[in-house]
Assembly symmetry: C2
Homo-oligomer: 580 residues x 2
């Protein structure tokens, strides 16, 4: 901002010059006091310059007594998890009042390296018109690339590289430090990353399920500010007391609003934030984003003032965003018009003083940006039906048992028999394969899965937290090989082979996201999931999204990576052959 | 902090290594939740690494069930107003629990220029031992040097110089922007300063008495964050609603705790801070510092949690001081042991894990630092008794009437007569002279003062807000000349001439502060004030400190500068001669 712009704002505030925009007949919700004030809101150069009456302006907008809130901020989200491009994400969320997100491109960077983060930054930046973006993005540098040493990801950011990248203005802070085990153990490379954040005075987000007591103290000494991964109410209370900002997670799979709501008090409400973490496109379309979370929190008994602060002022305070999070003079003119503080139905959204959405429709156009770095990312060594043979040399086998509506698996020991050098399936037994897809190394992990219910073919997906290799489940080796081939040629996606039927929904951006519209993504993912359901996948499992977590070796108890079957509890590889 | 230190903290938190210090049997007050928790506090490398039990340490300290609070922070203070050097200020305040101050060396810089600020920075820095200072100082760059164009100060920082200085790490932010008139008017030089702060993302403190409505909006657009100068409860409420942090002023002359207390609510308590602004050494010695303010606030009905936050967490949030303001892992080990949350009697104080005060005694030694730049600052052109002749050429004269216990003056029109080219005094009429003392220019302003009560000589002082010229009041020209000479040879101070009696208390540091101990300053200022009182100065006026504000041309209604009599309401110079 130039000096002359400061003067222009002051001139507008003093009514010596006309403003750019005046919202009239507003009921302004004050996050500092909890009161609602009637008046007009004057805007100049993207900043609120006054609250009062009698302003002149180039544009007037009568908001007809609607409540004006500060723009909503999501304290932690992986945009990739929507399977939408940044542009589509903005098109979908901005009409719901979202005006800022703290985005952690953890998945993209695990596939594409730093180029993945730069793609997100650039895609969002291209939404700008005259310096104003409908959606402001604070990009966190993923702290765990790869997430674990037990799998092959597309990139590796060691301590030194992380420290170097973090110096760039591209990155606001360090993304969720999932390797809490490494922090607590004092792992040198992990500390190098945290030390860099400390030196650069950049915020560090946390991810510390079950970390309490001494371990929590140690984690906090390392400089972590936030957390969204508690396993119990007691754990959340402890984290609040120890000074963490707790991000209440209102995601598609994980949602702890009901656990958090009773914990939010007059004393501590300033220490809670809202976040989505992982949210799917259909959810965003059908239910909304932070508007939905606000409505849910209030329904759970949280005082509206506290809920609104959790999506506005508290986020600004946690991340040190001066001039954000309130409707007040000198603050960014990021505003949302709603009917009430109960349903939070969003009628209009302003970002930097620009009307960017109205009655659910975005008022900005997007041109798709798809750089080379995020395209054509699926590289697999040739596979055949024989690649999926499992010549199990024991009478009992260790299998993964998937629990309905859970990301964790259980280990089960089953009697098995083989024929012609391959395990005989049936009785609700499937094969699971994780095929390395970044370097065409041919690494393939094979395991048995019990309880999924699929029969008559195979399904597969290239989204597989956190390294995003290909995960294929089936009862037919040839179909599994075909699924890999379909995914390879599509550049990633979701694929299904059932007899003669072949379906594929491409996730052509890094194998994680679709370049299609949000409507198409929602419709086609629903379609292919329904088709997979007809192959017998049981209720309680999302056919594809459940698969996406079977390769994540940090969630108990038994998982599969491209390097083999992993016993999360013992924190080491194991075998399908069960000795006893 | 080196990476290895991060590991050491983690090792201590995990009880793998002994800590530096463990406070046992603590009742830890939690500013996040308002609860009090019993346990031990473990410290390593100046940082709290854990709260719990079972820590091993090099040093244990049983705090015997005392309440442990975070170190107190003063959000706004002019150290010079104590008349103590920074070292003495620390010696006096640290035992009262003060662990951080946001200091604005406005007076020093108006006398000595930037060298005055550098002196404060260096004097405080020299208190450090092994990197830990008993008192942490965030230095604000004075924004108004000179405070007005109607007087001669020792230095001038224009917009460009201010912008340049503000880039230095010496300065945390921009000091109180008193020139709110300039801000609101869009004065170019003032905006240049504010623009620099905005560009550098440095906080700007405010000073805006009576600024409400459009003017307040404009002032906030300029980027001002705080204020401590409201004239009414309604004004404070408006400033809170518009997003300012309001600093409750608990100073020696100005104290609005009683006005603020009823305004502090469950909703807005996070937006109030404590500050001293101007506090005198005797007050600090007899009553205390923020401990006294806390006790007073609680007595006024403010909930202890809110009061404590106002001196700890809220200050940290306002100024963006991550890792300050709470007793929690990862936070600076700045702690205060008190008996209760009612009287806040301080027993022990730790700063960065070092015990720096105990039972009222500082546990650090100070070596006085007095650079050339702040010594020998009083330069006056020769004066004689004739310099104070007032040959008033009208029958009625305009005089300043000082109100008891107020900084404002009233204008009175009196009949006067002259004899031998000088006004005839008597009937409770005195002469007031403001003698320029920075450049020996000979500039002298003369005026009449009614109601002070002094007779039989003259008194004078080199503290005179904000330009700190010599202010001399008397009824005897020769005595006034002698007072100037006494102040000149002492390098500034307070002086008194009454018949044969001559007394002077030197303020040898910039003419503002004494290099003596706080005990001596308190004793000698009390002595000379008592001696002046015996010359007839009425109750309700502090003989010297009231003088110090008679030259401040921003407080209504009639003031005197070295350039003449100033009508604050009309904002222009006027004459002693009254036409009507």
């Amino acid at each position: 901002m130039k000096e002359s712009e400061l003067r222009q704002m002051i001139d507008c505030a003093m009514k010596r010059e006309p403003c750019d925009l005046v919202l009239t007949n507003a009921r302004i919700f004050n996050v500092f006091t909890g009161e609602t004030e009637e008046g007009d809101i004057a805007v100049k150069d993207g900043v609120i310059v006054g609250i009062g009456t009698g302003y002149s302006a180039r544009t007037y907008r009568d908001v007809a007594g609607r409540i004006i809130l500060p723009g909503f901020m999501d304290a932690h989200i992986h945009v990739e998890s929507t399977m939408l491009t940044p542009e589509e994400f903005a098109r979908l969320t901005v009409p719901h009042g979202t005006s800022l997100i703290v985005a952690d491109p953890h998945e993209l960077v695990n596939v594409c390296g730093i180029a993945g983060a730069e793609y997100v930054a650039e895609a969002f930046a291209r939404l700008q018109r005259e310096g104003v973006s409908p959606l402001e993005v604070l990009l966190q540098l993923p702290s765990c690339v790869p997430a674990t040493p037990f799998e092959t990801s597309g990139a590796r950011l060691d301590g030194h590289a992380t420290a170097e990248e973090l110096e760039k203005p591209t990155f606001f802070g360090l993304g969720e430090m999932m390797n809490y085990v490494g922090v607590i153990a004092g792992d040198a490379e992990t500390l190098e990353k945290l030390e860099a954040a400390k030196r650069l005075k950049k915020v560090v987000d946390g991810h510390a399920p079950g970390v309490v007591g001494d371990a929590l103290n140690a984690y906090l000494c390392a400089g972590v500010t936030t957390d969204h991964e508690s396993l119990s109410a007691q754990e959340i209370a402890e984290k609040i007391a120890r000074g963490m900002y707790v991000q209440v997670r209102c995601g598609s799979s994980a949602n702890n609003a009901a656990v958090c709501a009773p914990l939010i008090t007059e004393e501590n409400n300033g220490r809670f934030l809202l976040c989505s973490d992982d949210k799917h496109a259909p959810d965003l379309m059908q239910k909304g984003h932070l508007d939905d979370a606000l409505s849910r929190l209030v329904a759970l008994g949280v005082r509206p003032l506290w809920a609104v602060r959790m999506a506005t002022l508290n986020v600004a305070q946690c991340y040190g965003l001066r001039g954000h999070g309130a409707v007040a003079p000198g603050y960014a003119a990021d505003m949302v018009a709603v009917d009430d503080l109960q349903h939070f139905r969003v009628h209009a959204v302003w970002k930097g003083g620009e009307l960017v959405a109205e009655e659910g429709r975005p008022l900005f156009s997007v041109a798709r940006y798809l750089p080379e770095a995020v395209r054509d990312t699926v590289h697999v060594a040739p596979v055949t039906a024989d690649s999926f043979r499992m010549d199990i040399r024991s009478e009992r086998a260790r299998a993964m048992y998937v629990l309905p509506n859970e990301l964790i698996t259980q280990e089960v020991i089953l009697p098995v028999r083989t024929k012609d050098g391959d395990v005989v399936l049936g009785d609700d037994l499937n094969k699971l394969a994780v095929v390395e897809r970044h370097f065409a190394s041919g690494n393939t992990g094979l395991a048995l899965v019990k309880g999924y219910g699929l029969h008559g073919g195979a399904i597969g997906i290239s989204v597989a937290h956190d390294s995003h290799n290909l995960v294929v489940l089936g009862d037919d080796n040839a179909a599994m090989a075909r699924v890999v081939e379909l995914l390879r040629t599509a550049g990633g996606g979701m694929a299904l082979v059932c007899g003669e039927t072949e379906e594929v929904f491409p996730l052509d951006v890094a194998g994680l996201m679709s370049s299609a519209s949000c409507e198409e993504v929602a419709q086609k993912t629903a379609h292919i999931a329904a088709r997979a359901r007809r192959m017998g996948v049981k209720e309680g499992y999302d056919p594809f999204m459940t698969l996406a977590f079977l390769a994540l070796p940090v969630i108990p108890h038994l998982k599969l990576t491209d390097r083999g079957l992993f016993d999360v509890d013992a924190f080491r590889f194991t075998t399908t052959e069960a000795e006893e």
